[in-house]
């Protein structure tokens, strides 16, 4: 039995990610159980943990602190593979400039920045914010979660803020929207994605399959 805990701290719709994991589990020849929960004991008993997040970072961090989700994530990071998605990824960093500046968990070294109100592409054309839709991800490091995912595949994004870090060694994938930005990060048994794999059709499901099979080593 492969038990996946999706951490539920009340922020957003976790049904999509749970349904996608169940779908991938059915396609694999192994028993997969997906639990959407905030219960620290249940999460401690899971084989793998998903740390999701949508909406504003201030609200997310408030709930993370209120429910002591930071400690749950910290414990998980020490013992098992963890996949952080969208605002879940952003919450792992030091700070975000959203909502006038919000202190985040600081488990990964870097910051979360706004795309800007007057974002333009290389030809000077205006780019809408949020960055919403399918964009290409260039794989900068070979990683088990990229197995069978073609380089420069398009994933589904929806976000107005992005991660920036000095540690190029942590960056596993980059995208471009006005500027290059970090699409995915990895640090030991953490893999973090700005896009939504559960909404990214075949390539997204492949990445989730890789996560279900990943032992947390690189």
């Amino acid at each position: 039995m492969n038990k996946i805990a999706v951490i539920d701290y009340g922020m957003g719709n976790l049904h999509s990610v749970a349904k996608a994991l169940e779908h991938v589990g059915r396609e694999l020849d192994e028993q997969v159980e997906v639990v959407v929960t905030a219960d620290a004991n249940v999460i401690a008993g899971a084989d793998r943990v998903i740390f999701p997040g949508v909406g504003a970072i201030r609200d997310c961090m408030a709930e993370i602190l209120r429910l002591d989700v930071g400690q749950i994530v910290k414990d998980a990071i020490q013992t098992k593979p963890v996949l952080a998605i969208c605002v879940g990824m952003q919450a792992l960093m030091n700070t975000s400039e959203e909502n006038g500046g919000v202190k985040c968990l600081g488990f990964l070294d870097g910051e979360v920045r706004y795309f800007g109100d007057d974002l333009r592409d290389g030809d000077g054309l205006r780019l809408k914010v949020p960055h919403m839709g399918w964009n290409q991800v260039s794989q900068t490091i070979d990683h088990p979660l990229w197995k069978d995912v073609p380089d420069n595949s398009r994933f589904y994004f929806v976000h107005s803020y992005y991660v920036r870090t000095q540690h190029q060694g942590m960056v596993t994938g980059v995208s471009r929207y006005g500027n290059d930005f970090v699409a995915t990060l990895a640090d030991n048994n953490i893999f973090a994605v700005q896009f939504h794999p559960e909404k990214s059709q075949t390539v997204g499901l492949t990445l989730l399959r890789n996560f279900l099979l990943w032992d947390g080593t690189v």
Partner: protein, 257 residues
């Protein structure tokens, strides 16, 4: 490397069946929204929009089950709209597996509803759907007004002012339908789309009037839309999603192939 323009097939559904364009389809399975959604997803649709036009309360139960069935098999974004009036309606559809919720008449009746919805569920899942009709005459500056109830009821609200207001209230995306063009197959109202696209920072989905693939191209290049929505040209099976994307790519538009 750039963000792709999206192609969004739209399913108008009544009591659990796709109704728009249904007479053109093979009668065996064509009316099942789950089958149709899967087919579009496999063909490369970037998102699915499901518009519920069911009037009865019992029928809405069916809609929730249909959304659940689609969401458990289709792993691309799913927008659900039609008859959304309360925060509870939104929660029900999100729990059923919708990713975004379209709000139309309820926003006009009570604009604060959009603010509350965005605050509760996040702007990323709130799509304000706008039905606009041109009200200026030929030599005047162009002007569009918001209509509700499927284009029958005028509101006196200026379309451009309205979308700006909705975005300031937290709308994460605008789904704009030209009532003059809807069902005509004569192409989008490009001027309307361009004005709206330039007025707001959030993405714009153009809708209403697509009759051929060049109309999709025009919607992006001239209407400055970030996504194009169509129903009958795909239900018709006159064009496939892949053909549409290849046509757009050949015209220099970034698409997900």
């Amino acid at each position: 490397m750039a963000l792709a323009k999206r192609i969004i097939p739209c399913l108008d559904c009544e009591n659990g069946r796709v109704v728009k364009g249904v007479k053109f389809l093979d009668i065996r399975d064509a009316g099942d929204p789950v089958e149709v959604s899967k087919r579009y997803c496999d063909a490369g649709a970037d998102e699915i929009t499901f518009l519920d036009i069911t009037a009865s309360h019992e029928g809405r139960e069916t809609t929730v089950h249909t959304v659940e069935a689609i969401a458990s098999q289709v792993f691309i974004p799913l927008t659900v709209g039609g008859g959304i009036r309360t925060l509870e309606d939104i929660r029900t559809m999100l729990n059923a597996g919708a990713d975004k919720i379209g709000i139309n008449t309820a926003a006009v009746v009570n604009p604060e509803f959009v603010r509350e919805a965005a605050e509760r569920f996040g702007s990323q899942c709130i799509v304000v759907a706008v039905d606009a009709k041109r009200v200026s005459i030929d030599d005047e500056l162009p002007k569009w007004e918001i209509f509700t109830h499927g284009g029958r009821k005028p509101t006196g609200i200026d379309a451009i002012e309205w979308v700006k207001r909705m975005v300031s209230f937290g709308a994460g995306e605008i789904l704009l339908t030209s009532m003059d063009r809807d069902g005509t197959k004569s192409g989008f109202d490009l001027e309307l789309n361009r004005e709206v696209s330039r007025a707001v920072q959030v993405p714009l989905i153009a809708s209403g009037g697509v009759g051929n693939l060049q109309h999709l191209v025009d919607g992006v290049l001239e209407g400055e839309a970030d996504a194009v929505l169509a129903a009958s040209i795909f239900h018709f099976q006159e064009y496939s999603i892949q053909e549409a994307k290849q046509y757009m790519a050949a015209k220099g538009i970034e698409v997900r192939l």
